[in-house]
Assembly symmetry: C2
Homo-oligomer: 197 residues x 2
DNA sequence: GGGAAAACTGACCGACCGGTAAGTAAGTAT
DNA sequence: ATACTTACTTACCGGTCGGTCAGTTTTCCC
């Protein structure tokens, strides 16, 4: 059991995550979060220094778990292509409200102070983008992928998934299997080194 | 010459476009636009009913020109693949501030009133998404593309371009040719019906 | 040059925002 | 019992937002 986690604090985080995703950073008022929990607004400020800190407290843990997930996947036996396949499946089978955090991060970064932006950007690069780039690099080095720039490969993969980071796009329901299969196929066929030539 | 276009109105639109893209809908205050032009805030309200109307007046004309562009491209001789290639090149060689409008639309739609959202959504579907879906459908029908759902193909294409709709991603400079070439290749190889089997 | 319409300005408003200060009830250690 | 800490609440503040309105300047027509 996680002992030192006050009950209210985690409730705030849960509601804030849902509401930040639904509304965006500026459009969500602290008052809304407080009212949804039936507590005073000042209670939020007891647990979080300000709005930015709460926002980051929603985003950063997701990046942490993403890092361990990516590490586990790349440690698996199998080709880089299979790693990608596992990664895409993992992300897109998450609840829409989970995977939408990725979009939230990239989308609302500009609204934050320079300090927060820098802090988040560092973690984002190290724990997420960097790991994906390394995966892309590996695919290229092994001759599995065509020799594109790993950065381009990374953003191609994220871009392909991006539309499904909007909960509205699927009506908040789980993604059909056919979608996951299609975009994985498109990506892998798109970068795969052809066997015959 | 476009006669009935008041000078200030088009200046407002130009500045608003730049600033909406840089800041997002909520973060941009009407006052900022007025000050950038050296006019009073009320002058903006002389030309536009409210903030939403100004926002839509930035977005909608882009969709109009996008529609004619798409119609011109699909009327060209050549394969569907070549049409896609032309489309991607066209969009990604636009100035970053132009193509970022696509992101602005999909990103900030949720901030608008239900009425504006519906109005924009209709045009967005008809003049942009619908045309792309038709293009995808054609590729499938002609046997050029693998038989994916045209909707999935469309969002795959847009997703691949999406990272480059963030001006920050390229530092506001023109996209390197290699990027355009790479993502086009990835997309076309990804959906292309293989010749040999 | 007079008069109406068009194109603004300046001052202001109520709503709402993030954030804070002061107070308090319920534990907890001594 | 007392002193202190934790976890809040109530009340409020300065600032900013979108938007309005009465009045003033500019433009244009006759």
């Amino acid at each position: 059991m996680t002992q030192p986690e006050p009950a209210l604090r985690s409730q705030i985080l849960a509601i804030a995550q849902r509401k930040f995703i639904a509304s965006g950073y500026h459009a969500l008022a602290m008052r809304e979060i407080a009212e949804a929990l039936g507590v005073s607004k000042a209670a939020l400020y007891y647990h979080f220094k300000d709005k930015e800190e709460l926002f980051l407290a929603v985003l950063l843990p997701y990046l942490e778990t993403m890092e361990t997930t990516l590490d586990q996947i790349t440690a698996l036996p199998g080709s880089t292509g299979e790693h990608i396949r596992t990664f895409v499946r993992h992300v897109l089978t998450q609840p829409a409200e989970e995977r939408a955090i990725i979009r939230l991060g990239s989308q609302e970064l500009g609204q934050l102070s320079a300090a927060s932006r820098k802090a988040f950007g560092k973690v984002y690069q190290e724990k997420f983008i960097g790991k994906l780039k390394a995966l892309a690099q590996r695919g290229v080095d092994r001759g599995e992928f065509q020799p594109h720039d790993p950065e381009i490969i990374t953003w191609a993969l994220l871009g392909l998934m991006y539309p499904y980071f909007y909960p509205a796009h699927t009506g908040n329901r789980p993604l059909p299997e056919a979608v996951i299969e299609s975009i994985t196929t498109i990506f892998l066929d798109g970068i795969r080194q052809p066997k015959k030539r």
